[in-house]
Symmetry: D2
Subunit: 401 residues, 4 copies
């Protein structure tokens, strides 16, 4: 058994730190999922998720991981042989691409160096060239959790509009939703994919799809086999505040509370907070003389920072030193950047002093693991956090209706 | 908001009453699903589920509802056009049949009257007639939650052996596992399907498949498209105590505690307890002059009892009277027995006095709803519960390693 | 370790069943007891307790058992040698009397048979005879938890007024508050004594005094030594929403939630509910052919029922049989009625079906312990509970501000 | 309502951060305080507290604040007019002195400057001069929480032995127990006073006395009035694992878990951890160019650090800036050092990164509040924490019986 003196620092980019209020809301007796008391909760969480996705359209909530919600996006709208356009922004794009291949889509996977967002010029080029509209969907990862690079969905929407391409725009915002701005309707997203264990501050176990009218129409006409992930039946039965199967009641109790917390803080304030923490973290990385994995100015993720290890030093050894000495979990490098990158999550239920503890753990860990670096990262982060223009109130008062 | 004075009586046949110990185990900070502390838990729950299923083979745990685990059983082992044999024991057989059809299986669905277990003679007849072994799987519901009738999987196994048929034996034991005897290996089951929210005493959100070597071999050869539900990758990565996606960490914390509780009580004692409560409930039903939906001697479910309303009286109106007057949720009649049947769950974390409260609520509710019946059901149940031969200790002492 | 299958039935008359909402409210990080966030809670619970006691005067909340609040009542208002009038209504009167003697009060302890409330005629006689007003306080137990007999404080107030006696009226309502009507101001009570673990539905650990202006004036002039229990300093510092020492923060979190629950249900409804359950329990006792300990018509406690065992049968043996067979705790007989009486608590967070489980456990236990009785108690209780005029809604809708 | 984004930093020197495991242990149904299941817990916590106090003698556990345990020490062993020797080490010595005066003791209160431990020379001088042994007790504060200065009880014991004085040695270790070494028996302490909300990692609500045989004998002969605090009856009834009143059951559930955690970590490791954090904090204070309130080398508290504000700057204004900007509670200066000192708690359930977050909050707060200081405190603390000789494992493996 692991003995923790004080709280573990869970600074992977998900699952994130779950607020006590959310854990306590889940720690309640389960209930009749077909009774009137549950129906109130069902309606409440469906409406809450519409507000978080910024959509008037249905949101489908699955008892699943985020990978399930990826699959749901595919099997509802696409059939084997359908052509789609994806961009290799990093490991999560690779994984979604893998699912697409399992369902026998014909994927045009735009290569990337894992240090930038999606290559918008290439996307525009491919879509422009697709005169016959063979491409049925463009599938983009909003906040690429393996590289900490953001691709802005609105820019992809603008391309589609510009070249007048009817492809569906499908966006994985698993680690984006609740951490950075997201506008399902205003940005013209057709299918959004999200999960519970990131900016939504819940334990893992729920996957989400937000859908457009157009996506729903495509789905209705789609002959591909599906059952669990099928949107239609869920949407129909959701009208009664319930689900066609036994939903994950206690995670839904938590979801209700989590969205309440986000709204008490104010989503805009939540996004600002994430940006401050990202800026402070990058200031630390720069002071250490290290590089961020993301090399695209303006595309740095507010939710996490991926840091490149100096040549000849293993990121996972460093992470082990940090875990053993400071009881902090950092994110590993994934796939082709394994051992080369570690990731600092600053997403979800988080604040300035948690970040400072986090960065101090990284700085001390670099030293203990004998990774070449300059000191001063922690000090640089403090400079950012205490700047008047970026100091947001750590606490705010909120009225509850 | 609903105000509860005292505890709600959740007497639907699932989700069942979750023990405080389990809720509290879930009410813990989530953790790095790729770290060493989680790996210990991962290994522990996988081993625990093998003990509960009574198998040495892998158990696959999904973040899903039970319907997901149904789908998983199908998509791993069967391909469109495959012929399978199912038996219409009730609504859950109907629903599983519906999924089979969505995946374009060729289902031979043996009709049933919803008042008996599966028709074993018909199963034997069909299998015997299937000289060319076109039937790839026999799919049976162990504890049919809509009718409270049990089909014993071992009898189906015996038929398969007797007629030397190689079809896979797939068993839905969603509401059976943890409530009544189940032997995945000893009974020669190829795929078992279960869920968290019944005898396992957890909130909903986890689905399970236990598999045989034969089923695994079939799956490896199966060309059907699948990703989320695919067994191979999960089993491979489970060897490290983790999952190919972010697992539902906190439900897994609860699962560990729930199996610990079942094992402290002793699974045999758990099964005996369910049988006592079932016997007491049927004694009450008989005393009221009502009929159980299940009409097959020896097939009455230990986990729940379905009761037929007298002609002209609506079961859902009765359930509403009980809910409003006594804050107790009873199970509704499903599909073609809607309004005609109500169901009393006596499954999971339950004891004699909770049962007596339940039956008193039913008896008083029958009166308030003006349903014709004799009084004396509660008294009859007490006669059963206090009989020396069936009195098990309500409490027992257990040593914890 | 004790293994519980299902919930333990905690039917002692305190500690009572704590609602999940209250336990969860306590299960929160403690906080700076001198900070602004705590001050809001401090003000809220002080105001809440005024509403529960029905007083505009200060309520003092101690981290203590109820015995501490007894002592507080004494040491604030009385000095060694002071004469007081008490009535031996049962064991709790005896215990309070014992504390009074330890503080060297001159106690006139009116004898009683432990089967009635206080002897009001004797009280009136003593007060009338006390021309020189030597008696400084009349100290009464409102709901005598050892006998289940109530003494109505208003009747004592009326006597004091009738004979124009200036003695303080001090009332122990430890097991009364939150279970039966109580009006600190309207009934002219000078010092009320209460505890957290009864009708207030909290775990044990808080004691309460409500005080009148007159009691405060007496206290200011009282030379008796005291520190922890001294009202003055607490009241002064309470004005800032905090306490002169570190208060029991988490029990106060629970108190806030518990009063919220009582007020959502409505205190009047709470009292009605307790009376129904008391009536149903007495109907059961009568049907069993047993006697209640309380023999005074109109004085039966709504909060608990004390039952006399037939001659030659040991109540504690019976309680042991019930505990071992049905995992239910019943209250023991105290002091001179030990072994002769057992007590059924129906106080706090409780409802009809919990009561029916409780009474079924008693009825089956009587049988298993071979205690002579008639069957039919459970049936008789159901007759009471299902009577239209006494059926209150088990659930109600409440608006939350 | 206060909205917290991320966890509040509760860095007052008590109440301290309560571990989730402890909160969850308290979040369990209360139980019959006279039943066998509770008796096991009662025996367990009494034995656990003997291990923590390092005594074979009884430990008395009160539902009370620490001030109650102070009073208990006095009223059990001393009577009005008794002479005692106390030392004004800071505000908590002043408060205990105040209680002693309320109970009319004749206190010789050795003056102090609040920047050192007790004046041992003066103590020796007074005891030597007391030829007739009028002094009945020497009363010392072990870890003076207002100044962060420690007085070592063993040195006082050595004085008593050296001058062969029979006075009782009474020690307040409210904020010492569980944070720094304490040996009730080996150090010859007669009465130890402690509370739950400091090193014991519980919410407030429990007070403790550990007693020597000699103290018990004195108490038996002591005529002073007392009831709630009386040791004898509690000790007698504790033999059955219960208490003479309803004990604070749920806080006791938490106490059992808290001591289990301390023992899993190992008390020696716990003490070492506190010393590391104290050393790191003092390094930060020195680097900031500020002074610690405690000026006695070797007497710095491992549990907290009190920091003197530069002349002309208000400590409470600084604390307010920190609370509002960084959601961290720091301890206020008490009594005569109000506004001049702030206190940093590093006591209880705590670790390196929580400390770094804390110190970063102080450093940034000094800047925002425009308090003159040098930067570099955070960096200096990291130097201490990462030194190989002081790096203890943040995590350790422990076997549980």
């Amino acid at each position: 058994m692991t003995v923790h003196s004080g709280r573990h620092f869970l600074q992977i980019p998900g699952p994130t730190n779950v607020p006590d209020r959310v854990l306590r809301a889940m720690d309640m007796p389960t209930m009749d999922h077909r009774g009137p008391e549950f129906a109130e909760i069902g309606h409440a969480v469906l409406a809450a998720m519409q507000r978080v996705f910024r959509t008037k359209q249905p949101v489908i909530i699955y008892p699943s991981s985020g990978t399930g919600a990826w699959e749901a996006a595919i099997v509802n709208t696409l059939a084997p042989g359908d052509k789609v356009l994806m961009a290799e922004t990093g490991q999560f794009a690779v994984l979604w691409h893998g699912i697409a291949e399992k369902f026998k889509l014909d994927v045009d996977f735009l290569p990337g160096d894992w240090r930038h967002g999606a290559d918008l010029e290439q996307i525009e080029a491919r879509l422009s060239a697709d005169r016959h509209h063979k491409i049925k969907a463009v599938m983009i990862v909003h906040n690429e959790t393996s590289t900490a690079c953001v691709t802005h969905p609105l820019e992809v929407r603008n391309i589609l509009d510009r070249v007048k391409h009817p492809a569906l725009l499908m966006v994985d915002t698993i680690s984006g939703l609740g951490s950075l701005e997201y506008e399902h309707d205003a940005w013209g997203i057709d299918v959004s994919v999200a999960g519970s264990q990131k900016g939504l501050m819940l334990p893992p176990g729920l996957g989400f799809n937000a859908v457009s009218e157009k996506a729903l129409a495509v789905a209705r006409a789609n002959p591909a086999m599906r059952s669990y992930w099928d949107w239609q039946e869920v949407i129909a039965i959701n009208k009664a505040g319930t689900w066609p199967y036994t939903p994950a009641t206690n995670l839904l109790f938590g979801l209700k509370e989590a969205v309440a917390m986000l709204e008490e803080e104010g989503l805009e304030n939540v996004f600002t907070r994430h940006k401050r923490h990202s800026a402070a973290t990058r200031a630390a990385v720069k002071a250490w003389g290290l590089e961020t994995q993301c090399q695209e100015q303006g595309a740095h993720s507010p939710a996490l920072t991926a840091v490149v290890m100096p040549e000849g030093h293993d990121a996972d050894n460093f992470r082990k030193v940090v875990l053993e000495n400071f009881d902090m979990s950092l994110g590993t490098g994934l796939n082709k950047i394994k051992g080369k990158v570690f990731r600092i999550g600053h997403i979800g239920h988080f604040n300035d002093l948690m970040l400072m503890g986090t960065l101090a753990g990284v700085e001390m860990g670099l030293d203990l693991a004998k990774v070449p670096h300059r000191s001063g990262g922690v000090a640089a982060a403090m400079e950012v956090l205490k700047r008047r223009d970026v100091v947001s109130m750590a606490k705010s008062k909120a009225a509850v209706a």
